[in-house]
């Protein structure tokens, strides 16, 4: 197989929780040993419920927050061992689009300045060239150059998300981490943005890590999909395999819980009991065993590793598949 564009190996991000008097500091293991790779030109989707660590994974792998452990290798370069300066150079190629198009744009900056900033930071081109690039990129994301003079509040949510995409795209990156880019948008706008992301991928040969809680959106846009639960990947597979034959009981429950826009389809619903456990005190063994309908004795003591279940690209971390 061709060398992956990005390889993530055993990525960890722990957040310290200060203990009370005389009690030691504990850690919330937001991301606890996540490994996968992304091939050039593909879209990898990451799904899971709130608090599963999918956004933290996205940020830690870009080193927007320093990871606690593990390796992220981009085109043969280990991001953790690079100097800050070298890493900053790589930022041109690794970009992020955020969820909330209202919070991610400075209300006091004109759109032109929002888009000029990355070019200035990276010292790309003369002023003339920079302004031309800004106009170009606004056309590309479907807004039109004449919007450059306006402020963020003059735009709707969908338009702001286009600006967020333009900002990450203006440096011509090769990989974009899209962190819930359509979750805050209405359905009719959501489909506009999804189509835009796909067009841009073709036009600029982009690679995406697409993070979302929405299973149908992830299915639509991804080639391969990882499912996370309490800081770990529980399943990782090509999209067709994952949606047609989910192997992990959590993935099965997640898929069956999603409402379908068809009044007559009444799928056999697996309703999980209880809530996601507190990530500061995850259950022993398999973290899902407290809610799993197929729980066995071994699940309570031994943590299952993410291993192949079909000898190919379908990976699952479940004792049901390791016999």
């Amino acid at each position: 197989m061709e060398e992956a564009l990005l390889q993530i190996h055993d990525l960890k991000k722990y957040f310290p929780v200060k203990g009370k008097w005389f009690q030691p500091t504990t850690h919330v293991k937001a991301v606890d040993g996540v490994s996968f790779s992304i091939q050039k030109g593909e879209t990898v989707g990451l799904v899971g419920e709130s608090g599963c660590g999918k956004s933290t994974t996205g940020r830690a792998l870009l080193h927007l927050i320093p990871p606690t452990g593990g390796e992220v290798v981009y085109r043969g370069k280990n991001l953790s061992t690079l100097s800050n300066q070298e890493r900053r150079l790589l930022r041109r190629e690794l970009q992020i689009v955020f969820q909330d198009p209202y919070a991610s744009l400075d209300p006091r900056m004109k759109i032109r300045d929002v888009l000029l900033e990355p070019l200035e930071i990276h010292g790309i081109g003369s002023r003339q060239e920079q302004l031309k690039k800004v106009e170009e990129i606004l056309e590309i994301v479907g807004l039109g150059g004449h919007y450059a003079n306006r402020y963020p509040h003059e735009f709707s949510g969908g338009q702001r998300q286009r600006i967020g995409i333009a900002r990450s795209l203006i440096l011509r990156p090769s990989l974009i981490v899209a962190d819930e880019p359509v979750s805050a948008l209405d359905v009719s706008i959501q489909s506009q943005i999804l189509n835009l992301l796909q067009d841009l991928q073709e036009q600029f040969d982009l690679t995406y890590l697409f993070i979302s809680h929405d299973l149908s959106v992830v299915k639509h846009i991804s080639d391969r999909v990882g499912v996370m639960y309490l800081g770990r990947l529980v399943e990782f597979a090509p999209k067709e395999a994952l949606y047609a034959a989910p192997a992990h009981p959590y993935t099965q429950a997640l898929l069956s819980a999603a409402p379908v826009a068809k009044p007559d389809s009444k799928p056999q619903r697996i309703i999980l009991k209880g809530d996601v456990p507190n990530p500061a005190h995850p259950p022993s063994g398999c973290a899902f065993h407290t809610r799993c309908p197929h729980v066995m004795d071994i699940c309570k003591s031994q943590r299952p590793e993410l291993t192949t279940i079909d000898g190919a690209g379908h990976l699952a971390a479940c004792h049901l598949h390791h016999s």
């Binding site: 489909s191 999804l194 299915k219 068809k262 809530d275």
Partner: protein, 334 residues
């Protein structure tokens, strides 16, 4: 059959800096006993404001019902005094909101909040109210209910808080429950639990529900009949099956076509171009015309809500009264 709730030509105005805004301009719908009516639409279409007006909860001095009427059973709600409204609100019509954290008071325990409303509406004593609170929490599937009544909202998860809100709303056996995006803030597996609970309670008590949501998947699952709103008007109304199998309005068709499906795979999603008009700058004719693929001359005039077929209403010139859906033949030609 007499509907339990009848909304006729409802207009709502909000005072704005540059003159009045009209987030709802002339909507009609009704809810039958034991029925779940879905109200769907995107942000700003007026669906939440409509529900607040039914509860008499429009922000004082800013928002008001400026025309039309709301009838609940045999009483006209619009024009009632606050005092009269208080007898209905909570007792006969209850509401649950999207964000359970902001609708619970953080400095009172669950038991105090649930108990207060039970004492107020059912006139029980403190002790009995607390017992009733515990039993309500058990009904909505909260484990350790005796302890939970002593806890504060921040100690509960989002799903549990929404269960508390449902317990609160159902504690007086309302005839009508208005649920405004009750599962939007929740994860899918928790959403499945809450939808299941609402279905159970409805079957048991025969409560009518107005289910307000932007999620067509939830509509398909929960509702009997659906009203689609766009820019402050009802643009389509039909039974849930009819709406999904045979949508008539170009906007409804666009909405349904733009959801990515778990079952089918399409390379590109359909998308409705443009954005929802701002209430201060409504298009003069059909409000959807600037975004519509089938726009033609007649659309300079706003079409009325026509009866397309029995029980299926649509606000579009392409759909003739009792007749053909010309949108389809147009689509076939293009």
């Amino acid at each position: 059959m007499q509907p339990i709730l009848q909304v006729e030509d409802l207009h709502i105005s909000f005072r704005g800096e540059d003159g009045d805004l009209h987030p709802v301009s002339g909507i009609d719908f009704h809810v039958h006993a034991g029925e779940t009516l879905g109200i769907v639409g995107e942000s700003g279409c007026g669906k939440s404001v409509t529900s607040l007006s039914i509860m008499g909860l429009l922000p004082k001095g800013i928002g008001r019902v400026s025309g039309g009427s709301i009838r609940f059973q045999d009483k006209t709600i619009t024009g009632m005094t606050q005092k009269e409204m208080q007898k209905i609100r909570g007792n006969e019509i209850a509401m649950i909101f999207q964000e359970p954290m902001t609708s619970l008071n953080p400095v009172y325990t669950i038991g105090e909040q649930l108990g207060e409303q039970i004492r107020l509406h059912l006139g029980l004593g403190k002790r009995e109210a607390l017992d009733k609170a515990v039993s309500m929490l058990q009904i909505v599937g909260i484990p350790r209910a005796e302890q939970i009544v002593k806890e504060y909202p921040h100690q509960l998860s989002g799903g549990m808080r929404q269960r508390v809100m449902i317990a609160m709303a159902m504690s007086c056996d309302p005839k009508l429950l208005i649920a405004d995006e009750p599962t939007t803030a929740l994860d899918v597996t928790i959403q499945a639990q809450i939808l299941d609970l609402m279905r159970e309670l409805k079957e048991e008590k025969g409560t009518s529900i107005i289910f307000i949501t932007h999620d067509l998947g939830v509509v398909a699952e929960m509702c009997d009949r659906v009203v689609v709103m766009y820019a402050g008007q009802v643009i389509e109304e039909a039974t849930v099956r009819e709406l999904f199998e045979n949508p008539k309005h170009p906007y409804t068709k666009g909405l349904i076509a733009s959801i990515p499906s778990l079952e089918q795979q399409r390379r590109r999603l359909y998308s409705v171009r443009g954005t929802v008009p701002h209430p201060s700058a409504m298009p003069p004719g059909c409000r959807f015309a600037p975004r519509c693929d089938y726009v033609h001359e007649a659309c300079h005039v706003n079409p009325p809500l026509l009866n397309a077929t029995e029980g299926h209403k649509c606000r579009c010139w392409l759909v003739e009264e009792g007749g053909e859906d010309r949108g389809r033949s147009l689509a076939a030609n293009s």
